[in-house]
């Protein structure tokens, strides 16, 4: 699977650059936004596998706002919230709204990478399951066609045999004629 496309959202330029550099080093494709409003503009225009966003941001759109917008546009986007130390309540609120995970400040970069790796493997598993289902669907469709055609052909054949049986059982018709009539049906 291709590497994840990640959007990092934080109003602190230092954290933003730090996260961007570290994630890029791991070959992730990274874009950044300096607040919730510009994050939503980007989400509207591009698909991201993961959005890593600060919870508290100025400008009227906070991390929850980013989460809600992202989930509305594409449910497949996973969102990780970064919360201030001690604001677990908010983080849990976010998880209930569909966030994949949360991290507490100060952000430990190794932890970020571990979370990304977890999401990557989860997405791979999901893709694998979907591929298997696709393969199963194709097999099922093809065999369904064969089976259904056979089912109808057999049913027609059965009708024919019943007719032939009835003809052969007609006692008032001479045997030779019965056979001729039956052969005609076949």
């Amino acid at each position: 699977m291709q590497n994840l496309k990640i959007l990092v959202v934080d109003d602190d330029p230092v954290t933003l650059t730090l996260l961007q550099k570290r994630l890029k080093k791991e070959d992730y494709e990274v874009e950044t936004a300096i607040d919730g409003v510009s994050a939503i503009e980007l989400i509207n225009a591009n698909y991201y596998d993961v959005i890593l966003t600060d919870l508290m941001m100025p400008g009227g759109v906070d991390g929850i706002g980013v989460l809600e917008a992202a989930k509305k546009i594409n449910i497949k986007t996973e969102v990780i919230l970064i919360t201030a130390h001690g604001s677990v309540d908010n983080a849990i609120k976010a998880m209930k709204k569909g966030a994949a995970d949360y991290l507490q400040k100060p952000v430990n970069l190794d932890e970020v990478l571990l979370r990304m790796e977890k999401i990557r493997s989860m997405k791979m598993l999901l893709k694998n399951a979907n591929d298997l289902r696709d393969a199963m669907d194709i097999t099922e469709q093809t065999s369904a066609e064969t089976i259904q055609n056979l089912e109808l052909a057999l049913s027609e054949m059965e009708k024919l045999f019943t007719k032939v049986k009835t003809i052969l059982a007609m006692e008032d018709v001479p045997a030779k004629e019965r056979i001729a009539l039956a052969l005609e049906k076949l």
Binding site: K96, D137, S143, I147, Q148, L150, E151
Partner: protein
């Protein structure tokens, strides 16, 4: 993981057959390990034999139910294979409504009953409900009665709740239908009340007598008989024939066949789908 021994395979396959009718032959013995393995841990059994005796000895039958829940396959999707629902929409429901309506007043004179015979976690029955809701302007006026049954209590409980996880719903269900008929529920989705109230769910073992459930105009019995022996399949479809209205419709799984199973049904084609009616 605890390995299952050959004598345990026989013991458990026979037990599972007795309680559920599901036929696990030796080639599918791995199913016992993958599906029952977890029960060994949760129910403190060190071997499969222990699990068997614990289940047999349990008068509450809780363990028996857990085994049924674990062994049944709940692979199901909303609108799994779209053709039966197209068939329902364009052929079956219009015909049944016509047949059950007074030609003068256009009012339905009797209720229309639909049965999803192995409903699993409810996706099939709710897909039927959604199809009907989209087809009929005022669905409630038609006195439509939807019943879903399954052998697994856990599956029936989930169907009743109508709550689905993300991955159970994203495939098969188009986003517009998801938004229209479901509301977000924590990290999953919940079927909306107007669809939920159209359906009733019950636990039922298809290999036991079920004529007490009454007669149906439309029966869905898809991808469940494949787990039964030929003899049990014969019994099942004969019993289904008993509870299907004379002009009713039966839909089976797209890769299933009734040839050599039940001569009382004849297959008929509508566009790309097959349905069955009584002879």
């Amino acid at each position: 993981m605890v390995k299952i021994k050959p004598d345990e395979i026989n013991l458990l396959s026979k037990y599972i057959y007795d309680i559920s009718g599901i036929n696990i032959d030796n080639t599918k013995a791995y199913l016992l390990e993958t599906r029952l393995g977890k029960l060994l841990e949760t129910d403190n059994c060190s071997t499969y034999k222990d699990l068997y005796y614990a289940a047999r000895k349990d008068p509450s039958k809780i363990l028996e139910k857990k085994i049924i829940d674990a062994i049944t396959t709940n692979e199901t999707l909303f609108f799994r294979d779209s053709s039966p629902f197209e068939l329902l929409k364009y052929k079956i429901v219009p015909e049944i409504i016509d047949a059950r309506s007074n030609p003068n007043s256009r009012q339905v004179t009797s209720s229309i009953r639909i049965w999803s015979a192995a409903c699993s976690t409810g996706q099939e029955l709710y897909s039927i409900a959604i199809t009907l809701k989209e087809l009929l302007f005022d669905v409630y006026k038609y006195r439509i009665n939807l019943l879903g049954t399954d052998i697994s209590n856990a599956a029936v409980a989930q169907a009743c709740a109508g709550v689905y996880k993300k991955f159970e719903i994203e495939r098969g269900l188009p986003p517009d239908k998801l938004k229209k008929y479901f509301s977000p529920n924590g990290i999953g989705w919940k079927i909306k009340d107007d669809i939920r109230k159209m359906a009733t769910f019950k636990t039922l073992n298809l290999l036991e007598q079920f004529n007490y459930i009454g007669k149906f105009d439309i029966i869905f019995c898809r991808n469940v008989a494949i787990y039964f022996t030929l003899e049990d399949r014969k019994k099942l479809f004969n019993r289904i024939a008993e509870v299907l209205e004379p002009d009713g419709f039966l839909i089976i799984g797209s890769t299933e066949s009734l040839t050599g199973v039940c001569p009382r049904f004849v297959p008929k084609r509508h566009l790309k789908s097959i349905f069955y009616q009584l002879k």
